[in-house]
């Protein structure tokens, strides 16, 4: 008989899920870009040089300069950290709040679940943007307040998704057998149910990323996000608005940065959905 070691089992597990490596690599690349952003910028994004103001894209400044003579490329690169970093932080917080709440509510059921469901339904009736604008307005402008307002809007969809997965999984017989074996409820949730949520949560997060980037940029555009001189793509768009006729690149560059990032996020989301969404597999 072949002697099987723990190492074989671990290796087998890795081979079973090679697809899980791609999203991890992608996430690590994005994180590396966010961390390295200041080092990649050719100039100090906050360095004011009035003599260089409103320069068109050229050799010295590849994407031109803004109304205070700051290098636009450096500000766009710096904005990666603000816009994309904030978006990822919002996604992470929304998942960390929503998924455990959804799992708990779905698994416990009863009154707890009914109260939770009503609360979530109440949140879902409010349009995302209006709710976020109202909350940001109440909390006041600033990055932390913007972050809180968007998380308050976004956690609900993760909680709903996690709850629906629990409701589906807890009907299955392996959960009944685990209960019978004496596995405690919290270990049943962590060992048996939580792993089923990751694929769907990842797809939702990837599809949400573009929406969150747009939401942050929109709120910043109307002055509810990070305040000047912070380099944030939405607020840069707003600053460039006044010079649209004389220096259109001030709006075009951050606008294109937002568009391309949202496009890439949506493509990544679609790919992940194709990979993990059960409904797609059933259709195939």
């Amino acid at each position: 008989m072949r002697i099987i070691t723990k190492h074989d089992l671990q290796a087998g597990r890795k081979l079973q899920r090679p697809a899980s490596v791609a999203p991890i690599l992608l996430a690590m690349s994005v994180l590396a870009l966010i961390m390295a952003a200041p080092a990649l910028a050719p100039y100090d994004p906050y360095n004011v040089a009035i003599g260089e103001r409103l320069k068109a894209p050229g050799a010295g400044h590849w994407l031109g300069t803004d109304h205070l003579g700051r290098d636009l490329l450096s500000r766009i690169i710096s904005g990666i950290r603000t816009t994309l970093g904030t978006s990822l932080l919002i996604l992470a917080c929304s998942m960390l709040i929503g998924v455990p709440l959804g799992l708990l509510s779905g698994y416990l059921g009863g009154l707890c679940d009914r109260v939770f469901k009503r609360a979530v339904d109440a949140f879902m009736t409010l349009p995302d943007y209006i709710f976020a604008i109202v909350l940001s307005g109440l909390l006041g402008p600033g990055l932390i307040n913007l972050l809180s307002a968007v998380i308050a809007v976004k956690w609900v969809s993760y909680a709903r998704l996690a709850r629906s997965i629990v409701l589906l999984e807890k009907q299955k017989e392996y959960i009944a057998l685990a209960t019978l074996s004496g596995v405690s409820p919290h270990r049943i949730v962590i060992k048996h149910i939580l792993p089923h949520t990751w694929g769907n949560v990842l797809v939702l997060a990837a599809l949400d990323l573009g929406k969150i980037i747009l939401m942050i940029a929109s709120l910043s555009y109307i002055g509810l996000g990070p305040q000047p001189p912070a380099a944030e793509w939405g607020s840069m768009l707003n600053e460039g608005r006044l010079y649209y006729h004389t220096a259109p690149h001030l709006m075009l560059v951050p606008g294109l940065a937002i568009m391309l990032t949202v496009l890439l996020a949506n493509i990544a989301g679609d790919r992940l959905r194709d990979k993990y969404d059960v409904r797609n597999k059933e259709r195939a």
Binding site: M1, R2, I4, K6, D8, L9, G12, R13, Q16, K172, E173, Y174, A176, L177, A178, T179, L180, S181, G182, V183, H192, P195, H196
Partner: protein, 263 residues
Amino acid sequence: MTEARANNIINVVNLHKSYTDAHPVLHSISFHLTEGECLGVVGESGCGKSTLARCLLTLTGWQSGEIYFDGLRLSGMGNRELREARSRMSAVFQNPASALNPRLPILDSLMEPLDERKGFVPSFLAGERPARRLEVAEALLATVGLSADALFKHPHELSGGEKQRIMIARAISTEPAFIVLDEPTASLDVTTQSVILNLLKDLQETLSLSYLFISHDLAAVHFMSDRIMVMRSGHILDEFSKSRIFDEQRHHYTKLLLEVFSG
């Protein structure tokens, strides 16, 4: 219908269960199961067989009546007592695909009950002296005629029969006093059904297990059971020992089932 004997492993008295007030699923069910006995339960779909099984396994509550497991009243038990009682029960369900977590390798699913009882080694494996977790798992699989290769596979890589054997190995791993077999062969082909039924029968004799065997298949119930209970719409219509199956006094619904069975 119910005898209160000292060697009853299960004693059910006037059990009443309903999911909604309008539709009771079990109406004043009373029966018993003695140690080492196999009680077959037959009846049409929706008659309450599986709900009865879930009540016995304490996986669902009931409105009134009592279930005694090895003389202990199950209702009103504390968490620790309930856990203790559950550790002496086990189940094999109809669909092995749903009974195994698709994300876990077989080793983890198989060993879950034993992992909860750290250090416990079933006495029927004692002669082989398995020391490590992996060795216990291999010995358990050998009991149901499977090789150790299956341990490192995921459920989708195994056939229905193999999965059901794994569920049987898991069910007997803690040496339970009572096992619910809820249509364990319903999703299998005829050849595999026969192999699984023979395996269950052999294990019952070797380990003196008590079975509640639920099935649509009267032939399987006849082969496995010492006594047979016929259910319809949440009621027990008939209960008799296997040797008296063709008695004239049988309920007309039982006769109908027997006519179908005899062809």
